[in-house]
Symmetry: C2
Subunit: 314 residues, 2 copies
């Protein structure tokens, strides 16, 4: 982590401090042998700067949602291959104006932020959308037609990688694939019954990736812009972070499908193609960083630590 | 993720919806064979409830810091075995009142929150503390006298586990150990020079664990209470989240060593002993969850997904 740059201080050594150092030296020594400095390597920023236009794809406007919060817009890209029925139902909910005027109603530290209908006694009715759907916790491998494997071994799945810009996992033995619960991924709230969700209650991962939820939740997509608006909401009370006081709920203005919004009001982003050679360079820039700041390269990148670059379209 | 509980909706099926379902069925079928429901198992809460007093240890008051923010107190436990010189220097800084009136000056989404001196032109002088120290990125294995290995394979280190309540890693071949950059871990800011930090600039991990920073930073301890106060601060602007407008800086009232605070003003927490049999049960409760909500047990727990329970002392 960088300290504020360019500050040199001159400090004299007090006898007391020297004694303290000697006392701790027994605990601290021997120091690791000074390693050779790492040669500089292309950083992620440099890989991005050197990329070509064809290394990027625009968001799929028919599967992109704009959620307007007081602080600004959250952009969510849906991944229909991994949750076709839920993606469709969520768009129906959006076009029913179901989410308009609902709220962000939960924030649990190092876990999730959740939004939906806060009124249990008098819940908002569904119009064209369904209240619940059969679970889509995993899909057949054949659904996932654009999978680029990440070679780094994963503890939670036989194979992991990226599927058209989404972090995913798969088990060739069972023939199933699923999206991973990395930071920013959006999933469908449910009760104990596997088929009790439908997309009207959604959450986003806002802490360390809870990979134990993989294959237990229908994961529908990813926040590609505006994550700070969700991640910085105040945490609610234990145990699950649901706001106790309705006054804490954060109002949602509208949620719209990007394709339904006039072109001049769209947020035009592009995502690095995860099946591109450039993407391999981006991952390698994280897996093996060069100097001068980095002293030891990790030699490994875990799925949820692999960047998936997003930038405004030019 | 739980939806709001106990809401049943009756939705008729429109022909249009049936057609949409048939269209997506080709993509969705065949569904995974319905798995047998998981038998219930002790949850983490139940393991905690069943624990005995001896399964917990109080915070080390001589190595615990209280940082007062407008929203409340952040409690940080230092881990001197892993950074003896930095732990000592940070306590000296605290006793110099160095941090009093400084600020939280950076929040980068899915990365860190950082605090220290915002004034580069006229930096606060050091009194008894040192401005910089030799790096303590790793320590000899012999420093880590209370290591309980986590059997789950890790991609970033030969061995991982817990050291007296702190997530750690080690390499028996090099004979070195270090703290892992899990959520809530506190590290020392530095510039490119390995020895350019000293503890006056500190940050906490506020997103997915950036394990690639392991062995590149002196990690000094863990936030054990008050993390929501840091995690929910607004994010600063790209690229690194340093607040551009000083008005956004969040004031630190005081930072004190717990032992220096009158007993009636202390925050008395206890941490589950990570070398206890009960802790193994806690980890297993995460590694292999039981039903009814969970449908598929992960069979794996990664280091930064292993809980380290903290609770107020009775």
């Amino acid at each position: 982590m960088r300290a504020r740059p360019n500050r040199k201080q001159q400090i004299g050594r007090a006898v007391a401090l020297a004694c303290a150092l000697m006392a701790t030296a027994a605990l601290a020594a021997p120091a690791a042998p000074a390693a050779a400095e790492l040669a500089p390597k292309k950083s992620l920023s440099e890989v991005i700067a050197a990329s070509s236009a064809g290394d990027w794809r625009p968001l799929d406007l028919n599967n992109t949602l704009y959620m307007e919060l007081p602080g600004g817009r959250v952009v969510i890209e849906l991944a229909p291959p991994f949750a076709p029925n839920h993606a469709e139902n969520i768009k129906t909910l959006v076009r029913d104006n179901y989410f308009d005027g609902l709220v962000v109603l939960r924030s649990q530290d190092n876990f999730v932020v959740q939004w939906g209908d806060p009124d249990e006694k008098n819940p908002r009715p569904f119009k064209n959308a369904k209240a619940t759907l059969k679970a889509e916790f995993t899909v057949p491998l054949a659904n996932d037609t654009n999978f680029t494997r990440l070679r780094d071994r994963d503890g939670y799945a036989a194979q992991v990688g990226h599927s058209n810009g989404f972090p995913s996992a798969r088990d060739p033995k069972t023939g199933r694939a699923w999206l991973a619960h990395c930071y920013g991924m959006v999933g469908v709230g449910r009760d104990n019954d596997a088929d009790s969700g439908g997309g009207s209650s959604l959450y986003v991962v806002s802490g360390h990736a809870p990979r134990h939820l993989d294959r237990n939740i229908t994961v529908v997509g990813r926040v590609v812009s505006g994550m700070p608006l969700l991640a910085a909401v105040p945490r609610g009370p234990a145990p699950m972070g649901f706001y106790a006081d309705p006054g804490q709920n954060i109002p949602i203005g509208t949620v719209k499908v990007a394709a339904d919004v006039p072109a001049g009001q769209r947020s035009n982003f592009e995502v690095m193609r995860t099946d591109s050679a450039t993407y391999q360079k981006a991952v390698e820039a994280q897996r093996n960083r060069g100097g001068p700041w980095t002293k030891v390269a990790a030699g490994h990148v875990e799925l949820c630590n692999a960047p998936i670059p997003v930038r405004p379209q030019k």
